[in-house]
Amino acid sequence: MDVMPKWADVVLVPIVSLVLAAFLSALLILAIGESPSEALKLMVEGTLMRSAGWGYMLYYTTNFIFTGLAVSVAFHAALFNIGGEGQAMIGGLGVALVCLFIPWPHWSLAIIGASFGAAIFGMIWAGLPAYLQAKRGSHIVITTIMFNFIAAGVLNFFLVGALKPKGSMDPATANFPTSTHLPTFEDMAQILGIEKMFRSAPANVSFFIALLACVAVWYLIWRTPLGYEIRALGKSGPAARYAGVGSVKIIMIAMMISGALCGMMAINTTQGESERLILNFTEGAGFIGIAVALMGRSHPLGVLLAALLFGFLYQGGAELALWTKIPREMIIVIQALVILFTGALTLMVRAPLERLFLAVWKG
């Protein structure tokens, strides 16, 4: 186990996995007749070389921080929350109800209300599978997958029914009142007196809430008794029970925190960007959270960095789809490879590294 120093385990394994994923993706791009170096150049230029690109990237990053943290918290309790997608959808419902039916005087109050709405709805949606795991022993992976589909049904039901304004054709709620609209990075730059920054990019103040969530999760997991209990249960269920940690309580709490974080993703997409609740607003972010958490080794700092990377990939992928024959789905392939190498084929990545370290240490 302790063949490699800790830094190597934390830094080298994800980086080697990423390099492998990038290499295979480059081969795929070559195989479909495009140039990988051109593709990379396009991605960097479209994302990092202009402020609007940053604005899009940070918008995606915000989603991935929330879902990545959510998956991480569950991972610490040895639970696999694959239901982030469904929890985010129901969280979106919470945001919509709060924004549509409460007359908010100012966005700063609205975002607090919406955060609570999103978190509570997400919590409820994660709470049921958690209860079934804790009390009835139903496998959380299967139940959360089922709850994803049921959530899609619930969202669909409300968007073609009760929440759709009369006379409207598309399945969406009415636009949220202007007082709930969140300032985007463009608005904030203007307040600081900088014009023409982040032009019409969707990144908004919820990015800072995501950063706060990183700090909060770090504090919770490593600085509180509850976090200690969560980690203890995750490392060894029997040992934790022997030490008096109630597994039912911890499973419930860890999953509900996870669900709340997933739900809060909706303040970025629903209150911040679309400013009404639409179908498919999650765009698979709940699943990307899995890749982000694996890549970030379930640590908030790692999650932040991995979320930035995936934000870059998403915005870069949009650029590629715009200028080349490479479709957006290329990003899903990269995401799959990252999950595969960091999550399932870890032994393949670790074993050669460990051998290398052994050789260097001895010699």
């Binding site: 709850f147 479709p327 399932a344 032994l347």
Partner: protein, 379 residues
Amino acid sequence: MDFLTLIQVLDSTLRLATPLLLVCLAGLFSERAGIFDIGLEGKILAAAFLSASLAFVTGSVWIGLLAGIGASVAMSAIHGLASITLRGDQIISGVAINFLAAGLTVVVSQAWFGQGGRTPPLKSGGRFEPINFPGAVPSKEMADAGPIMQIYSELLSGHSLLVYVALLTVPLSWFILYKTRFGLRLRAVGENPAAVDTAGISVVGMRYAAVIICGVLCGIAGAYISTALQANFTKDMSAGRGFIALAALIFAKWRPWYALGACLLFGFFFAVDNRFQNILLPAWSLSAALSIMTVGLVGYVWRKDLLDKFVLGGLAFGLALIAFMIVASVWDVGTSTQIKIPVVFIQSLPYILTVVVLAGFVGKAIPPRSGGVPYVKEK
């Protein structure tokens, strides 16, 4: 609803249940050998894409079928490598396979055909055509035929070859799993791999065999979707069937004959959903059904602890609220007003039923004991 309509719905049930059944049995082999497989969805998708592509290019549906099986087995091999040889996390590997298939199929089909992730429509020869039994009446004359003839011509005849293959796979799987030595060993590997190892049988070999069988069956299912049910590949055309099959597998408690029942039931939901846009029921009956569930839940949690009371009580409250709202909404016009069942409810039923079964309220579903645990040989 007349008799012919019923037969037509059952006919469509059979067609829609076929891919579920093949995938469900695929999952059955894999999970019975102790390898969880969340990646069924990805395997069907990869198979559907490659079989539609090669059937289009070569004009032969058989080459398409083989290619589909090849694609699915390749995905299975990755899953096997990750979860058997490298002892990685089976669930994460399955998730990765789903994404790999979802991404690759679109990227490659865009590169090959340039039609935004679709493959060109298949002509005859590139598809599995319906097989008409001797003496079956064509659908135009169906209304005049007698009930027995309708059953024979509409329900039994006129399906593509793979539908019959899928139905035959059920007894075959049962026979292999319960009546052969191979099947006994395969089931044992999922329950207690150490015992199998002690008997001098390769756990790794058995598990790979199971994963490959799973790949072959998923491959047939994928080929069926893109060359028999539809006539080309479209993006994400597996449409969650892998997960529904997984649900059916749990519903069937990991048994082949039960799997047939579960898949036909779920296929029936889809057939009903396709056929009837409006399902109407009197308001009072809906409210009564919900109220009975509420009372049942309250009765169940009466002597349970606080958490049970809170969660299930909350659920009961929610159901009671819906029952009340249904009655309140039709109070003025009378409680026998017909209420439309939301389409999404019928679509969500397979998932809801699976959760209920998983929760163990209606017969407990117990998975193979060593499922999801990599086997480490003692050194």
